[in-house]
C-alpha cells in the first residue's frame, strides 16, 4: 500500500479523518524555521552548565568553588552549600508520577552523571570551563552495578501504578499438566532514549511568574509540578513547547538539571538557559532499565499452553523505583489456564530508569516472543500456527471481552504479505544465492490503550474558518496534523480551514503525549469541542426564522463543508458564514473535556495488536547479521492519517531492530560509568541497517475504546519486532541468543 492511500473508511465517508495528509509542520522543520527550546535567547540570558559526578556512589568531599567563581564570566556557582530552598522535598516523589530528583539537596552521590553543582555564566564556554574547574573530590563507596552486587527487593507497584504480581489459575497444576516445559532466562540491557534534541530549558521569571521554553510531553502536569517546587500556583508557570525533537517518554517527567536552571534564573533575576550535552543525558533523565527475565511455558501434546510464568528482575536506582513492567507483557496475549507474572526489583547505583517508548512491553515482549518461539519448537509446531492455537478470544484470566481485536487478521495478512507459508520448521535450512544463511521469525505485537483526560476549545469564526486549541505535544509524530484532521472533521471543515494552536500550557489541557494515547485523548477533546461549537451554531440557526434551518432543532442538522444541513432534507442548508453574519456574532466557541467512561473501561480489555515477520541474513562464518525484510501488520482501531500511522509503525519497527541487534549502554562494572555515552559508540541503526519495511494497516472498528474508535500506534511497532528478529536469527543459524542485543560473537562462539 502506498503512503498516499486514504484508509478505506475515509474513502467510504469522504471525510477528512483517514486522509494521508503530510505534516503541517514539515515545511518549517525542513527549512529550519521551527524553533526548539534552545533556540530562544531572551535579552540578558545566562548559560547554566551542570557539573556531574564521575563516581556512582559516595560523597562529594570538596569542590573548588573558588576556582570556578574566579573564572571570567562566571556569575554564580550553585552547590549544596548555597542552593536556595525548594518548596517540594526532592527526596519525595511528585504525584502523580514524578520521580525523586537530584537537585543538590546534599553531598551524596547516587549515580554517575548526577548533577553535583550548577555553574551559571555569561557564556556557555565560561560555564563549561568553570564546571570543569570545580575538580570534585570524592569519598568513594563500592558501586553496585550488576546482579551480583545489587540489592534485590520486593515491590509495591511496577511501571506507573501497575500491580507487580498477577495470578490467574493454578500455575503448579498447569506445569504438572504440561507435556513440555520450556524454560529459559533472557536479558535486556539498559538503553537510553537518545532523542535527537537534548533536554533543554530557557527559564525567565517575572516576579512570581515563570516562562519556560522547554520540550515537554506533559505540560499541565509539569506546570503543577514546577508550581509545587517553586511555591507558585500552577497557572503562574507558562510552558512553551511548540516542537520536540523526540521525547520517547524522557520529556514527560521533571528532572534535576532543569529544576536547577529554573531555580538559578529566579535567584539571579535573569533568564537562564540550560542544555544537556549528549553525555549528560545518560543519568538524570531516565532510561530503559536492565532486565533479567525468566519464562516457563508449559504446553500439552496439542501445543496448547497449560501454564505461563514470567518473572522479571528489573534494575532501578538506589533511591527511587521505576520498574519496567516487563512481565506484564505476558498477561494479555496468550490463552493459558494458568498465568503468573511477577516482578522483583534490583537496586543499583544508577540514575532512576523511566518510561522509554513501550516501557515494559518492549523488554517483556522481547523475552516472551522468543520464549514462545522456543515453545513452538519444543512442540514441533510452526510459530504462527502455535500462536494461533493459543489465541486468546477473551482476556486471559479475567475473561473480559476485548474492545476489539483483529489480531488474527494481522497474523494472516502479515504472513501472506511476507510469504511465510512453506517456512521450514528446522533452523539452518535456507541460504540465499550468495551463501548467506537466511532465517524467518515472527512475533506478536501488543500495546495497551490508555486514555488521558484532556480539554479543548474550538472557535468558529465569522469568515467560516475555525481556530482549535489544545495544549498538546508534537514530538515529530505529526500530532498537529492528525489532531487538526479530527477537529476539522467534527467542525465540518477542510483541514486547511482550521487553524491549530498547540504546544503552550495556557491552552486547554491536552493531556499527556505518552502511552500512545495522545491522538485518542486530545483528539476526543477536540472532537467534542468541535461538536459543541456546531451545536451552538445549530442552536442559533434553528431558532432564527430567517434561516432555512429554522425549526430543525428537533430533527437535527449535520455539518459538512462549512454548512449545516437538515438531516431529513439535505437540500436545506446554510453556511456558517451566513448564520453568524445574520446573528451578528463574530464567533461561536465550543469547549469540551473528554475522558474515558470508566464503566466501559472496566468491562473491556483494550489493546492494539499486531504481527511482525522478519527475515535476517547471517554470514555463516563471520556471524555478521543483517535484517533484510520486515513486514508488520497492525490493528489499532481507527486510522486518522495513514501516512503518519505507517511512519509510526516504521519507527517502531526500526526501534525494534535497534533493540534486537544494536542498542546497549555499556557499563563499567567497577565504577558504574557508562563507557559509550555518545552517539558514536551507542549504536542505533543507520540507514544501511534498516531493511525493507512494510506496514499493513488492518481495519478495526472499536466502539468501546473511545467514541472515535482510536487506539494508539506510537509504541506497538517495537513489540513483536525484537522477538521476530531474534527468532529469525535462530532460524537462520540454529543458535538461540537470549541476551540483547544479539552480537557477532554469540553466533561465532557457538560454531568454533
Amino acid at each position: 500500500m502506498s503512503l498516499d492511500t486514504a484508509s478505506p473508511t475515509a474513502r467510504r465517508h469522504g471525510s477528512n479523518a483517514g486522509q494521508p495528509l503530510t505534516r503541517r509542520d514539515g515545511l518549517l522543520k525542513v527549512t529550519g524555521r521551527a524553533t526548539y527550546a534552545a533556540d530562544n535567547h531572551p535579552d540578558g540570558m545566562l548559560y547554566a552548565v551542570t557539573a556531574i559526578s564521575r563516581i556512582a556512589r559516595g560523597r562529594v568531599t570538596a569542590l573548588d568553588v573558588g576556582a570556578a567563581r574566579a573564572h571570567a564570566g562566571v556569575v554564580e556557582v550553585l552547590t549544596p552549600a548555597n542552593r536556595p530552598p525548594l518548596a517540594h522535598d526532592p527526596d519525595e516523589k511528585m504525584p502523580p508520577f514524578g520521580f525523586r530528583v537530584e537537585v543538590l539537596q546534599d553531598d551524596t552521590v547516587r549515580y554517575v552523571g548526577q548533577p553535583i553543582a550548577l555553574v551559571v555564566a555569561e557564556t556557555l564556554e565560561a560555564a563549561t570551563e568553570a564546571a570543569a574547574l570545580l575538580d570534585p573530590q570524592y569519598e568513594i563507596a563500592d558501586a553496585r552495578t550488576d546482579r551480583s552486587n545489587g540489592d534485590r527487593f520486593g515491590l509495591a507497584a511496577v511501571g506507573i501504578g501497575a500491580p507487580p504480581r498477577t495470578v490467574h489459575g493454578d500455575l503448579a497444576a498447569g506445569l504438572a499438566a504440561a507435556t513440555h516445559v520450556t524454560e529459559a532466562e533472557y536479558e535486556t540491557p539498559a538503553q537510553y532514549h537518545n532523542a535527537m534534541e537534548p533536554h533543554a530549558v530557557v527559564a525567565e521569571w517575572h516576579g512570581d511568574r515563570v516562562t519556560l521554553d522547554m520540550p515537554n510531553q506533559a505540560m499541565a502536569l509539569s506546570c503543577a509540578a514546577y508550581g509545587a517546587y517553586f511555591d507558585i500556583p500552577a497557572e503562574n508557570v507558562l510552558i512553551r513547547s511548540p516542537f520536540l525533537g523526540g521525547g520517547f517518554g524522557s520529556k514527560a517527567i521533571l528532572n534535576g538539571p532543569q529544576i536547577l536552571a529554573i531555580l538559578a534564573a529566579r535567584m539571579l533575576k535573569r533568564p537562564v538557559k540550560l542544555v544537556l550535552t549528549r553525555t549528560q543525558m545518560y543519568g538524570p533523565v531516565g532510561h530503559r532499565g536492565h532486565t533479567w527475565q525468566k519464562l516457563r511455558i508449559g504446553t500439552d501434546a496439542q501445543g496448547r499452553l497449560t501454564a505461563l510464568h514470567h518473572h522479571a528482575l528489573c534494575a532501578t536506582s538506589s533511591f527511587d523505583e521505576f520498574i519496567e513492567p516487563a512481565a506484564n507483557a505476558s498477561l494479555p496475549l496468550y490463552d493459558s489456564p494458568a498465568i503468573l507474572v511477577e516482578h522483583e526489583g534490583l537496586r543499583l547505583d544508577i540514575g532512576t530508569p523511566g518510561p522509554m517508548r513501550a516501557p515494559g512491553e518492549a523488554s517483556g515482549s522481547a523475552a516472551l516472543e522468543v520464549a514462545m518461539d522456543e515453545a513452538a519448537v519444543a512442540c514441533g509446531m510452526d510459530p504462527l500456527e502455535f500462536r494461533l492455537a493459543n489465541y486468546a478470544e477473551t482476556e486471559p484470566g479475567t475473561g473480559r471481552p476485548f474492545s476489539s481485536k483483529a489480531l488474527r487478521e494481522c497474523y494472516l495478512e502479515g504472513a501472506k504479505r511476507f510469504g511465510w507459508a512453506g517456512r521450514p520448521l528446522e533452523p539452518r535450512q535456507m541460504r540465499d544465492e550468495n551463501g548467506f544463511l537466511v532465517g524467518w521469525g515472527m512475533g506478536t505485537a501488543v500495546f495497551h490503550c490508555p486514555h488521558f483526560p484532556a480539554e479543548a476549545r474550538a472557535t468558529l469564526r465569522a469568515d467560516g474558518t475555525a481556530l482549535v486549541e489544545t495544549a498538546g505535544a508534537d514530538m515529530g509524530q505529526g500530532a498537529w496534523t492528525a489532531l487538526a484532521q479530527i477537529a476539522a472533521e467534527a467542525l465540518g471543515l477542510d483541514p486547511d480551514q482550521v487553524e491549530f494552536h498547540s504546544g503552550i500550557s495556557t491552552l486547554p489541557d491536552g493531556g499527556i503525549a505518552g502511552g500512545s494515547g495522545h491522538t485518542a485523548s486530545a483528539g476526543l477533546a477536540l472532537n467534542n469541542a468541535g461538536e459543541d461549537a456546531i451545536a451552538k451554531l445549530a442552536a442559533i440557526a434553528t431558532a432564527d426564522p430567517a434561516s432555512p434551518l429554522f425549526g430543525a432543532g428537533n430533527i437535527g442538522v449535520v455539518a459538512r463543508s462549512g454548512r449545516l444541513h437538515r438531516i431529513d432534507d439535505e437540500g436545506r442548508s446554510e453556511s456558517y458564514v451566513d448564520i453568524l453574519a445574520r446573528a451578528g456574532q463574530a464567533e461561536v466557541i465550543g469547549t469540551a473535556k473528554a475522558a474515558r467512561d470508566p464503566a466501559i473501561a472496566e468491562a473491556h480489555a483494550m489493546f492494539s495488536h499486531g504481527a511482525v515477520f522478519a527475515e535476517v541474513k547471517v554470514d555463516p562464518d563471520l556471524g555478521q547479521i543483517r535484517a533484510t525484510r520486515l513486514v508488520g501488520a497492525f490493528a489499532a482501531g481507527r486510522v486518522i492519517n495513514p501516512r503518519l500511522v505507517r511512519s509510526q509503525y516504521f519507527g517502531g519497527m526500526i526501534w525494534g531492530t535497534s533493540f534486537a541487534l544494536h542498542e546497549e549502554a555499556v557499563t563499567d562494572r567497577r565504577t558504574g560509568r557508562i563507557m559509550n555515552a555518545d552517539l558514536a559508540e551507542y549504536h542505533v541503526p543507520v540507514n544501511a541497517d534498516v531493511p525493507s519495511l512494510d506496514a499493513i494497516l488492518i481495519e478495526e472498528d472499536d466502539p468501546y475504546v473511545n467514541p472515535l474508535g482510536i487506539k494508539g500506534v506510537g509504541e506497538i511497532g517495537i513489540t513483536g519486532t525484537v522477538g521476530a528478529i531474534a527468532n529469525a536469527v535462530w532460524h537462520a543459524t540454529g543458535v538461540r541468543v537470549r541476551r540483547f542485543p544479539v552480537r557477532i560473537e554469540d553466533l561465532l562462539i557457538a560454531r568454533a
Binding site: 548467506f436 541474513k617 563499567d668
Partner: protein
C-alpha cells in the same frame, strides 16, 4: 584553564616552526582532535591549523606509477578519485567503510593516519590510562575490553588503532613523508604506529612538531589491483569502527599466488601486517586450505587481553574470507556496502 592559541600558518615551514613549541597540536579537519579537546583527553596550548597550507590538497601520479597523496586530501576525494580507486581498490574500499559520509567529506588523509585510539578509558578522564597519562595505569585491562587488542598488546596498554584506511596501506607498503624541525624524512606506515610496550604514551614514530605532508603508495602496490579487498565486521552496517577487519591482496598467475599481502585491523595498537602469512601463501596455489593456514599463522601469536577471545577466531575467519574474496577478484564497481560481508548481496541499495 582551557585556553589555547590558534595559529594559522601560511606555509609548511611556518607550521613546523609554530609546532616546535611544546604543547602544540596540528589541526586538520578536527573530527578527532576537537572531540578529544572537548572531553579533555588532550589539552593543547597551541592549535596549529594546517587546513589552509598551500599545496597539501593534491593527488600526484609519479612517473614510476606510484602515487603521492598530500596530507590534506579529504578521505572522500581520495576514495572517489577514479584512477586511485581503480589502482588501489582495497584502499578506496577501506576509506568508504570508515565513519560516515559527512565525516569522510571532512576528514583528511593525515588526520586519518594520525587519529587516536577509541579506547573508552582513554576518553574518560576519571579512568586510569597510561596512554593519556604515562604511568597512571590501564583501566581497560580489567574493564570493558570486548573490543580491545589481541595482538601486540602489553600489560600497560591493550588499545587498538581504529583506522580502516591504514590497514590496506600497511599491506601495500605505503609510506609517509614527514617534515619536522630537523628536516624531512620518510617512514613506512608499518612503522608509523608504535606497539605499546612499556611506553603506550608514545603512540607514533613522529617526533614532536613533525608534520605528515604526504602519503605515498609505491608502483608495485598497483600490481594487486585486480585482486584486492578490504573486509570489515562491525556492530551496525555502517558508521561503526571495526570489530575486526582485514585487507588482502594477491598477485596471481592462474591459480598460483605470486605475491600476497595480508593485514588486519582492530586487533592491535597498529594496523597489523601479517608477513609470515604472506610468506606461507607465496608460491602456493590458491585454496581454502592455503588461506586457512595463512590465517592460522597470522593469528599464531594472538592472545586475549580480556573479554575478547572471540576476536582471535573472528580474525582468522576474516583473513580467510578476505583472501577468498581477493582471489575472486576486485569487484567491477565499488560495492554498495563497501567492505561489508554483505557487499555481495544482490540488490543492495544503500550506500553506507
Amino acid at each position: 584553564m582551557n585556553r589555547f592559541d590558534y595559529i594559522r600558518p601560511v606555509s609548511v615551514s611556518e607550521a613546523i616552526a609554530a609546532a616546535a613549541v611544546p604543547g602544540s597540536a596540528y589541526l586538520a579537519a578536527g573530527t578527532n582532535l576537537l572531540d578529544l579537546m572537548k572531553v579533555g583527553t588532550t589539552r593543547p596550548e597551541r592549535v596549529i591549523d594546517i587546513t589552509r597550507l598551500p599545496g597539501l590538497d593534491r593527488i600526484e601520479w609519479l612517473p614510476d606509477g606510484g602515487v603521492r597523496i598530500a596530507a590534506m586530501v579529504r578521505n572522500s576525494d581520495l576514495a572517489y578519485d577514479e584512477r586511485f580507486a581503480r589502482t588501489f581498490p582495497a584502499v578506496a574500499e577501506a576509506l568508504l567503510s570508515g565513519a560516515s559520509a559527512q565525516l569522510r567529506n571532512a576528514a583528511t588523509v593525515g588526520g586519518n593516519l594520525m587519529q587516536r585510539t577509541r579506547c573508552a578509558y582513554f576518553h574518560d578522564l576519571a579512568s586510569a590510562c597510561n596512554r593519556r597519562v604515562a604511568g597512571s595505569g590501564c583501566d581497560a585491562r580489567d574493564g570493558e575490553n570486548r573490543l580491545h587488542a589481541v595482538l601486540g598488546w602489553s600489560e600497560h596498554c591493550i588499545a587498538t588503532h581504529p583506522s580502516d584506511f591504514c590497514v590496506p596501506l600497511v599491506a601495500l607498503d605505503a609510506l609517509v613523508e614527514v617534515e619536522g624541525p630537523h628536516g624531512a624524512r620518510e617512514i613506512p606506515v608499518d612503522l608509523l604506529h608504535a606497539l605499546p610496550g612499556a611506553t603506550p604514551e608514545r603512540e607514533t614514530a613522529l617526533a614532536p612538531g613533525e608534520l605528515v605532508v604526504a602519503l605515498r603508495l609505491p608502483a608495485e602496490a598497483a600490481d594487486f589491483s585486480g585482486n584486492a579487498r578490504y573486509l570489515k565486521l562491525r556492530e551496525r552496517t555502517s558508521y561503526a569502527f571495526a570489530v575486526v577487519s582485514a585487507a588482502a591482496a594477491l598477485e596471481l598467475e592462474g591459480k598460483l599466488i605470486r605475491k600476497a599481502r595480508v593485514a588486519l585491523g582492530g586487533v592491535a595498537a597498529k594496523p597489523w601486517r601479517a608477513r609470515e602469512a604472506e610468506v606461507a601463501l607465496t608460491g602456493m596455489p590458491a585454496s581454502a586450505e592455503a588461506f586457512a593456514k595463512a590465517a592460522e599463522i597470522a593469528l599464531a601469536d594472538a592472545l586475549p587481553s580480556g573479554d575478547n577471545a572471540f576476536k582471535i577466531e573472528l580474525a582468522r575467519r576474516i583473513v580467510v574470507r578476505a583472501l577468498s574474496l581477493a582471489f575472486e577478484g576486485t569487484p567491477e564497481v565499488m560495492p554498495a556496502l563497501p567492505a561489508s560481508p554483505f557487499s555481495t548481496t544482490a540488490g543492495a541499495i544503500h550506500v553506507a
